[in-house]
Symmetry: C2
């Protein structure tokens, strides 16, 4: 039998050794960062007594073209560098530190998101809109990563699927939104950077969106899964990968629809199908909805690239105008276009809308501030989803 | 209509601007790290021309008690610091850099895992055992994050569930392994640090494990979900949280079983139920299997804590010896205990086995090298799962 002294020794070991080591092994530094104040000023801190220069880069700072903005941090007598923002507007923000020229995340904030090969910390300041990105005490849907069969690509491929609260307990069929990522993204992008599960849970709880299935496939046909999640193992993700805009994905998209409609209680009809995407995913949504002309009643193009590269050979990109005209004739309920005023694709959007106007092709247009950024895509999704089904 | 010059301009913009900015925005630095050589030496690199001292810390280095080992890196004329290991044994490893005293991940490797509040990079050197941790071209199961109702805790709680390949296409019922995390862990731990989905996919593909459902609940009853995934929002995770070893979790565990057996095609019988856990999760598995004495035919204790804190008041911790005796009398097929030779819980395991011996309580015992580390828990899981069902 165990004797009492040994039990005490064990408990003492378990608690004190672990607690003492928590900082070095499990917890980073014993300071709080970020700290969000009542008036939405945010204080960032990093303990770096030996550093000569520490900067903070946050996505709320004005960028110089593609170079993120930075602000100098100030060192106190304890070696802690601090920066306090002006009051920030409610939003999901990302940031990182630069310590003597080396980019480093905030050790005191383990919440990180990957965008292509770049990892940044996140924090949230809440209002009615950004509160949609938060996990609230509302009924939650299920997020699953499954693998579907893609015979046209000769592989099983990973796919992220959100089913709404109540799906497991009901026998009813649900409409489906196919939600496509941009260049450098994958089947993780809309869930992690896009906060899709939280947006859907909250919009459904507010009665603003119908319960629906959201399907987030991987649009990079050379991958079976996101970097690090597939058979290619761990490698450095690239922004542009091969064969993303050559028609292969669009031509095989019916395999994804078939998988969803045979494996989920999904309504199999045009009025219950929507497709939307951001940037390259908007390009895919435009071409897929045109190439399968009687399949989707709801189409969303978020900061979309539009036209294929000169010389793209795929059958998918033949007769664009004629198939758009066909899509118009067959009819649909919503063709929603969102674009930011400073987006580098802004002019291509102007040109595309001119084309649509010349064809009397009906669409809704929403123009936001800002550019080619996740803030806009989360907003567009939150605006688009209540219009569906 | 779009004119050709504009199309070219757009494409040029899209490709060149993005490609040029890839390094600063999306990709870290333009160097490779880590680089795994043919003989399993590994080269680490970080561009830090201004740094005075850069060290590498990897979990293959001998630790000083709870302080991870480090090795000095060497700077070349381009400002790149390098360290080359001796040939490493195949394993899933984790590491980080220390630049002038500041811990920072490897910017050129976006694959990170969180352990409590600490984030480290990972890489894999493959052999037959560690190859189980890799995504291979084999049929894959589905991993879902769902929310179950826990009336005893007054909340909906997040739970991670693996269903095996073929689950969606069949009508058969499957046995269930309940797999419990340790202190500081949550419903993400076994999937991210434990590589459970890969281990299950690969063991099933090799014919070494039966297809089964693996249920990974959250054992911290004050949380509805892992840090960052629940209604508490983003906060700094702690190693020891309140009420993890006070009996609440064990007493309410039937809610999890009920959820699984009503929402999945799960066999509802003792011979189709297994429960295992690491450290605190081994403690939970021991007490749950004893408290619900005729429920589990397979029990696994991995580096388990055993006895409750002195003075723990829960009914769960009353009459431990009598209920163990009852469990023995009712019978089970496997009581598997795994422990590392240098584990700080080693002696408590010795004492527990003495107690079992004194009761003629049957068990299997496996003693490995090493201590209280994920390497052992991945190994134990790989050894335990083939013995089930």
């Amino acid at each position: 039998m165990l004797n009492t002294a040994k039990i005490f020794l064990f408990l003492a070991l378990f608690v004190t050794l672990e607690a003492a080591s928590q900082q070095s092994i499990f917890g980073g530094q014993d300071i709080q960062s970020p700290e969000i104040g009542l008036n939405n000023t945010v204080i960032f801190r990093i303990l770096a007594p030996e550093a000569k220069e520490v900067k903070l880069s946050g996505d709320w700072m004005p960028a110089q073209g593609w170079t993120p903005g930075t602000e100098a941090m100030t060192k106190n007598e304890n070696g802690v560098w601090t920066y306090t923002t002006s009051p920030l507007l409610p939003e999901l923000y990302s940031y990182f530190f630069i310590v003597d020229g080396i980019r480093t995340p905030d050790l005191n904030n383990p919440f990180l998101i990957r965008d292509v090969a770049s990892v940044t910390n996140i924090f949230l300041i809440e209002d009615a809109q950004s509160g949609l990105y938060k996990v609230k005490k509302v009924p939650h849907g299920t997020v699953r990563r499954s693998w579907y069969d893609a015979p046209s690509l000769g592989m099983q491929r990973r796919i992220t699927i959100y089913t709404p609260p109540g799906y497991e307990e009901s026998n009813e069929k649900y409409p489906v939104l196919y939600l496509l990522h941009g260049a450098g993204g994958d089947e993780e992008a809309w869930i992690s950077l896009g906060r899709t599960a939280q947006i859907m849970d909250n919009l459904i709880a507010l009665g603003k969106a119908k319960p629906m299935i959201v399907v987030m496939p991987n649009g990079n046909v050379i991958q079976d899964a996101a970097p690090g999640e597939g058979s290619d193992g761990f490698y450095k993700p690239q922004f542009m990968v091969a064969k993303t805009m050559d028609g292969t994905y669009e031509a095989g998209f019916s395999e994804i629809i078939t998988y969803v409609e045979t494996h989920f209680r999904a309504e199999s009809k045009k009025s219950s199908r929507a497709i939307a995407g951001l940037s390259m995913g908007g390009f895919h949504a435009m071409h897929i909805s045109r190439y399968y002309p009687d399949t989707f009643d709801y189409i969303g193009l978020f900061s979309a690239a539009i036209l294929p590269a000169q010389g793209a050979q795929s059958k998918v990109y033949e007769a664009i105008d004629a198939t758009l005209m066909k899509q118009k004739e067959l009819g649909f309920k919503l063709y929603w276009i969102g674009m930011g005023k400073t987006d580098f694709l802004y002019q291509s959007g102007v040109d595309f809308r001119k084309k649509l106007d010349s064809m009397s092709f009906p669409y809704s247009y929403y123009e936001s501030e800002g550019g080619h950024i996740w803030k806009n895509w989360r907003n567009y999704l939150s605006d688009f989803v209540p219009l569906l089904f």
